[in-house]
């Protein structure tokens, strides 16, 4: 800071001074120390300072919040204009996230390098729009066809351009999302969700897809969807409302059962539901959705079963509930790591 003699300053002079402004608008230790000491030194100046402060703090402006629909619409449009030379990257990296892509890459490798070369030569520019959400954040997306997607925390959705000429509507999901797909007249443009190894063909409907851990799980709320393993386009499984299907790539099997769908879509309203869930699984969910690490001092804790319905929940609420339910100690190790011990 350059040295200035403030003793002759009028209120107006103070207002034009950057250091003074910094103190009023962004007080920190350094500027507070200076200005407090200065006022002690020149008590007769306190009134002038107060006047200047009043003026500055009177400057309030209405904040115009950009509507989420506009934000997404423009972002979607910008994607179509991106230079194909710009490599596609996600805003965040999670190693297991890309398992699906890696597997696809290995498969392509088996088909031969020639095929790969051809694929890259003929591949159209990636014009997919990417929507991402932060840890702990749910985002409501309005796709160009008026379908609504509620994107769960720390998730990403890529979408092809759904414009006039498009023959299909395709999206790729990492993480979790609830879909309310707009039915297309005469089913002219099918809507497909790609989740890891699974393709979900939508026939106008509401359903939840969870693909946080590379084991895509689909819960159908209403309507009809058909699932297909995407590498081997063989069996096509048609789901009924109220069903849950999880695909396990390691043994190429579908697990199918009847569920109450509310439990699986409660996250849309920031409610977390646990039903006889192991603490190991709870920790994994908190890691996916809030980016935190939960460590257990005692491995027997991992198998403890936890049941709770937590409204307006985030990781802190869940951890506090666990602490009370099992009478355990909870310690925050650093910003993102928590230790649970008996």
């Amino acid at each position: 800071m350059e040295w200035k003699d403030y003793t002759d300053f009028t209120a107006t002079d103070f207002l034009a001074d950057s250091f003074f402004m910094e103190w009023v608008l962004h007080p920190d230790e350094e500027n507070c120390a200076f200005w407090e000491a200065w006022q002690q030194h020149y008590p007769e100046k306190q009134a002038v300072i107060a006047a200047a402060r009043t003026m500055l703090s009177s400057l309030e402006y209405e904040k115009h919040q950009m509507p989420a629909e506009s934000y997404d619409r423009i972002w979607h449009a910008l994607h179509g204009k991106m230079d194909p030379a710009m490599p596609e990257t996600m805003r965040y990296e999670r190693s297991y996230h890309h398992r699906g892509w890696r597997r696809a890459a290995i498969l392509t490798g088996v088909c031969g390098l020639l095929a790969l070369g051809l694929y890259w030569l003929l591949k159209p520019a990636d014009k997919r729009a990417v929507y991402t959400s932060q840890f702990g954040e749910n985002r409501r997306l309005l796709l160009p066809d008026s379908s609504v997607v509620i994107l769960g925390p720390h998730s990403a959705l890529k979408a092809t351009a759904f414009d006039g000429e498009a023959k299909t509507r395709e999206v790729w999901l990492e993480g979790e999302a609830y879909f309310m797909v707009k039915h297309d007249a005469g089913n002219a443009r099918p809507f497909t969700v790609h989740a890891g190894d699974l393709d979900i063909e939508v026939l106008g409907t509401e359903f939840n897809v969870n693909n946080y851990n590379g084991r895509p799980q689909v819960v159908l709320h209403s309507g009809k969807v058909a699932l297909q393993q995407n590498a081997r386009k063989a069996a096509r499984i048609v789901m009924e409302p109220g069903e849950l299907i999880e695909y396990r790539a390691d043994n190429d099997r579908y697990v199918r059962r009847k569920v109450s769908t509310e439990k699986y879509v409660a996250w849309v309203n920031h409610t977390l539901v646990f039903e006889n869930t192991s603490l190991k699984e709870v920790a994994a969910q908190l890691h996916h959705k809030y980016g935190i690490q939960v460590q257990f001092a005692d491995s027997t804790l991992l198998q403890e079963r936890f049941s709770a319905t937590l409204k307006q929940a985030d990781h802190k609420v869940v951890l506090r509930a666990i602490q009370e339910a099992f009478s355990v100690q909870l310690q925050q190790q650093d910003g993102n790591t928590f230790l649970i011990s008996r």
């Binding site: 209120a11 710009m86 490599p87 990257t89």
Partner: protein
């Protein structure tokens, strides 16, 4: 959203020039809402405000190879955006009248929070100050907004508003001088009261 420092934006800008979509996405996330807020203060036509945001970012994508590094991304984008918006407004005015915010441009408001926390006397004074400020010409109010809300230097404001730095300084000084006179008739105790109230 995480608050990003000026250096963070400059680094994102640099990575975007190098072809990173990720950096472009970060710039969009940081500045589209900021430009929207600014645009709404300049012009009441939301469609126009949004179209210009798209134009500015499309321009960046199309001219990535020709763009050079910038230190203050916020000032750069505000300048480009203001130009795009004013050009569009003047083009449209030739054909059909555009709903401009005009007198209400860069209006100073008293937030509901200050109604809640403010003592009656302090609130009254702030209303008086706001009224005095709102009577200033829109350009003066715009300079105040850029200086005190967007935290930009006199140099950046001069570049954005396409006037010389001296005029910016003069405008802001004049605005405050007017305020000072407005406030001159307040008793000392009231001013001290305000000092104690404000953090």
């Amino acid at each position: 959203m995480a608050i990003q420092s000026g250096e963070g934006h400059a680094a994102n800008w640099q990575h975007f020039l190098g072809g990173s979509r990720e950096a472009f996405a970060a710039l969009y996330a940081s500045f589209a809402p900021l430009l929207y807020n600014y645009g709404c203060k300049e012009c009441a036509d939301r469609r126009l405000v949004e179209d210009c945001i798209q134009d500015v970012f499309e321009y960046l994508l199309a001219h990535r190879a020709q763009l050079s590094p910038v230190t203050n991304v916020k000032a750069y984008l505000l300048k480009a955006y203001r130009r795009a918006l004013l050009r569009k407004i003047s083009n449209m005015r030739k054909n059909i009248p555009v709903a401009l915010t005009d007198e209400a441009r860069f209006e100073i408001v008293i937030s509901p929070e200050s109604h809640l926390i403010g003592q009656q006397s302090s609130l009254h004074r702030r209303e008086k100050v706001a009224a005095a400020l709102n009577a200033l010409p829109p350009r003066m109010k715009e300079a105040l907004f850029l200086r005190f809300y967007e935290d930009l230097s006199f140099e950046d404001i001069a570049a954005i508003m396409e006037i010389d730095q001296k005029s910016v300084y003069k405008m802001i000084y004049k605005a405050f001088d007017k305020l000072r006179r407005q406030l001159a008739d307040f008793p000392l105790w009231a001013l001290l009261y305000c000092l104690l109230l404000k953090p």
